[in-house]
């Protein structure tokens, strides 16, 4: 340990001598540049890219979320494993697609785990229930919304609050009224062989109380038609019919999970 000060002093002397020698060989100001060791060091490599400014999240008012059921689970009246069962969520819809639910709220349950309040595709329409977060897959966001005006027989699709498509529709005939409320698009079907449904059909979470005996229990769809002459009108068993060109235009713009508000 006693040798360290001497070692440091020797190192300092050597450094001073080396610096003095360097100054002498470079000739000081005006001397040849290549002799300056500092100047001979390579310049930093320029990066191939540099990220721009941080990207803050925009404030959005027109976002709705949905998630597909990841494992069968009971939807309960409260975020509590012992709360009453409202219904059971299955992995698949009757049409064989993944089964989405609208995400309405989140809360920590009585078990200390995260729970999610979800919109349910059951009667009575507008039902909701709580499921453990682990029952659902990843969240998906949509910025579209479809408003169906039963009085004006018109459907309007908005994106980020702005109308992007407005088309005439056929709705439920007397006795088969299209249910009102807030629903969501569950799936999209195409390439089937049912001309009465046109080229594309969307399944929704709306159920017709008058058509529970219908296959799959009377889900209300949004689809094309082979009777465009009946649109607009009150002509269906509860479904929302569009002319085929209109349903194709809608299909290009409306993702699954889009809220559907029927009033």
């Amino acid at each position: 340990m006693r040798r360290r000060p001497a070692l440091l002093a020797a190192l300092a002397c050597a450094t001073a001598v080396a610096l003095a020698a360097g100054a002498a060989t470079s000739g000081g100001p005006g001397g040849p540049d290549h002799a300056d060791p500092a100047r001979a060091l390579p310049a930093p490599v320029m990066p191939a890219f540099t990220p721009g400014e941080p990207v803050a999240l925009p404030a959005e008012r027109h976002v709705s979320r949905w998630a597909a059921v990841r494992r069968p689970a009971a939807a309960r009246a409260a975020p509590d494993p012992s709360a009453a069962v409202v219904t059971r969520l299955e992995l698949r819809t009757p049409e064989g697609t993944a089964n989405p639910v609208a995400v309405l709220a989140r809360r920590t349950g009585t078990d200390g785990r995260p729970w999610v309040r979800v919109g349910l595709a059951i009667l009575p329409n507008g039902s909701a229930g709580w499921v453990p977060r682990t029952a659902l897959g990843g969240y998906n966001a949509v910025r579209t919304r479809l408003d169906v005006d039963l009085r004006r027989l018109e459907a309007t699709l908005t994106r980020r609050g702005r109308p992007v498509l407005r088309v005439p529709v056929g709705v439920g005939a007397p006795g088969w009224e299209t249910p009102t409320g807030r629903f969501y698009v569950r799936n999209r079907l195409s390439r089937y062989r049912s001309p009465a449904y046109g080229p594309v059909a969307f399944g929704t979470s709306a159920r017709s109380p008058a058509a529970t005996g219908w296959p799959a229990g009377g889900f209300v769809g949004i689809h094309g038609t082979d009777r465009p002459d009946l649109i607009p009108g009150r002509v269906s068993h509860g479904c929302i019919r569009m002319r085929n060109a209109d349903i194709r235009a809608l299909a290009r713009r409306m993702p699954v999970g889009t809220p559907v508000v029927i009033a």
Binding site: P44, V45, M46, P47, A48, F49, T50, P51, G52, P54, V55, A56, L57, V63, R65, A68, R70, P94, E95, G96, T97, A98, P100, R106, T108, R113, P114, R133, T134, G137, G138, Y139, A141, G172, W176, R186, N187, R188, L189, S190, R191, Y192, R193, S194, A196, Y197, A201, G203, S208, W214, P215, A216, F219, V220, G221, S236, H237, G238, C239, V256
Partner: protein, 229 residues
């Protein structure tokens, strides 16, 4: 100083189970017990032999980097959108929002650099990992540490010097993220004298086994519509 373990950040035990499947109970037990300060190093020791650097092109590195940045950016973005970050105290909120904004900027630039060679973003399911502030913070620590290990592992193998310089720029920022996240979590911001690098294959294996990257649910069908008509 609290010891953050993988068990803490891995509530569904995805990482633990994944390692168990890959390497057997003994190593999984080791990982679960490992203090988080050494978690990346432990993972690195578990890595299978990686492909030689020559087998991985610069585009491969960027593509993997994009995927990993998308994973992180979506994790932070979603936590902000669903309100997890909003429920945090101001200092933690500022940290989480800053990291999210940085990761989104990283995604943006790497996508621009890759151009048509950029692959579409995969679907993500973070389960409970970003539902509560506690789970979110601990998962963020794991992600940021893993990012540092990844960049430390791939950067020396990159062929283009300009790209190497760019990745070093990301590496230093990610190291700041990791230290900040550890500070927020109450863990040691600089627990080691060096950060162990990880090969892409090892990082891929770790990410795969979290089940954060998932298949998109199939929402389209061809069955005849059973709707009310």
């Amino acid at each position: 100083m609290s010891a953050v373990t993988f068990r803490d950040i891995d509530r569904d035990d995805a990482l633990g189970e994944a390692v168990e499947r890959l390497y057997g109970c003994t190593r999984a037990g080791l990982l679960r017990r490992a203090a988080f300060g050494g978690a990346a190093a432990v993972l690195a020791t578990l890595a299978r032999p990686a492909a030689s650097p020559a087998a991985v092109s610069d585009v491969d590195v960027l593509r993997f980097g994009l995927r990993f940045e998308q994973l992180q950016a979506t994790f932070y973005t979603q936590a902000e959108e669903i309100g997890t970050i909003g429920a945090m105290p101001p200092a933690e909120r500022r940290w989480a929002q800053t990291l999210g904004a940085h990761e989104r900027a990283h995604v943006k630039i790497i996508k621009e650099v890759l151009g048509p060679k950029a692959e579409p973003a995969p679907a993500f399911d973070f389960g409970e990992a970003n539902e509560t502030p506690r789970a979110f913070i601990r998962t963020a620590v794991a992600m940021e540490d893993l990012t540092v290990a990844l960049l430390g592992g791939v950067t020396p193998g990159v062929h283009d010097r300009g790209l190497t310089a760019a990745l070093l720029g990301l590496l230093t920022v990610e190291a700041r993220h990791a230290a900040w996240a550890r500070h927020i979590a109450g863990a040691d911001p600089a627990p080691r004298t060096e950060d162990a690098p990880m090969a892409i294959a090892a990082v891929q294996a770790a990410v795969d086994k979290t089940n954060f990257v998932v298949e998109r649910p199939r929402m389209r069908g061809r069955s005849s519509p059973p709707f009310t008509g």
